[in-house]
């Protein structure tokens, strides 16, 4: 077997960037974090580069042994040109050519994709999807997205949006979605949509279990909901039940996999 080679990975999110040094055999050598909450890319990008260089130095890996860099960010992005377009929770990142910046800084090839595809690839290569030919990775967080592996390849589609399953419409008369349409899966089951719905419905119920658990209306989130479900609160259980029913309705409609991995 060939000697494993080192890769630097950057997972750029709305609050932090996970920087990691991984070997091609799946060994996670080391990792660190760079804050990215309401920060300018002009500050964050150099910090990412020095974090990556520190990981290499601390592991005693000379820079010329680094094989490549991989980076993922939330959508929307320009996949072909390696540009972050201005994701809703990273408003200061407008048209940032992140892929080529990292390639130049590290002097190696850099590769780029959206965070749902990247997480799907990670679960496929090193997690619950190891060895399968077809799988759908679902990420259920603030929004809902997917990474689709079909016949041993990542499915991108013509505009690289193949995994955008969160905007499949389950009910054209349903609740309004962030995207402007009505009744998307994400409008029913996305973390942000559910939190907003609970804040609306509980606005005049300061004594409800959920408001009490959250401390205030604005603090209500998915964690509050799951805590209230565990405490058997009837309202929370009804919200949860409705969400699970929409998840059940949607999951089989997303591209048919022969093995599916989900994460929350």
């Amino acid at each position: 077997m060939a000697k494993p080679f080192p890769i630097l990975g950057f997972d750029v999110g709305g609050t932090k960037v996970a920087v990691s040094l991984v070997l091609s055999d799946g060994t996670l050598v080391a990792s660190s974090r760079v804050p990215n909450k309401e920060r300018e890319p002009d500050d964050v990008l150099p910090a990412m580069v020095s974090a990556g260089k520190s990981l290499l130095a601390d592991a005693g890996i000379p820079r010329e042994e680094l094989k490549a860099v991989g980076v993922c960010t939330p959508s929307p992005l320009d996949f072909k040109r390696g540009i972050v377009m201005a994701p809703p929770n990273m408003k200061m990142w407008k048209h940032v050519p992140i892929r080529d910046f990292l390639a130049e800084e590290f002097g190696v090839r850099a590769f780029f994709d959206n965070d749902a595809n990247a997480s799907g690839l990670a679960e496929w290569l090193f997690g619950s999807g190891v060895g399968v030919q077809d799988m759908l990775y679902l990420t259920m967080s603030t929004g809902i997205g997917a990474g689709v592996i079909a016949n041993g390849h990542l499915l991108r589609g013509a505009t690289c949006d193949a995994g955008e399953v969160g905007h499949m419409i389950l009910d054209a008369n349903g609740p309004l979605c962030n995207c402007g349409l009505r009744g998307c899966w994400e409008a029913f089951s996305g973390g942000r949509a559910i939190a907003q719905r609970m804040q609306r419905e509980l606005a005049d119920k300061p004594n409800s279990t959920i408001v009490k658990l959250a401390g205030s209306l604005e603090n209500i989130d998915m964690k509050t909901l799951s805590d209230a479900v565990l405490a058997n609160d009837p309202y929370a259980c009804a919200v949860w039940d409705g969400m699970m029913e929409r998840n059940a309705q949607s999951s089989p409609s997303a591209p048919s996999p022969s093995s599916a991995a989900t994460s929350s």
């Binding site: 490549a68 090839r109 965070d115 690839l121 990670a122 949860w240 048919s256 989900t262 994460s263």
Partner: protein, 57 residues
């Protein structure tokens, strides 16, 4: 409360549904650590410079 797999019966067409399994992700808090690197490794695989973990032994 009813688990997802039981609920899916009502919506999923029988044959593809029965060929599938629904499982939780395995990487958990390490997902972010592997995501960026996986993009690079898959890209190298696509151009023939890296074998998938289950192909190289």
């Amino acid at each position: 409360m009813k688990p997802l797999l039981e609920r899916v019966r009502k919506y999923g067409w029988k044959q593809p549904r029965e060929a599938c399994s629904i499982v939780p992700g395995k990487l958990g808090s390490k997902l972010g650590e592997y995501a960026g690197a996986s993009v690079a490794l898959y890209a190298l695989h696509e151009i023939g410079e890296w074998d998938l973990p289950w192909q190289n032994n």
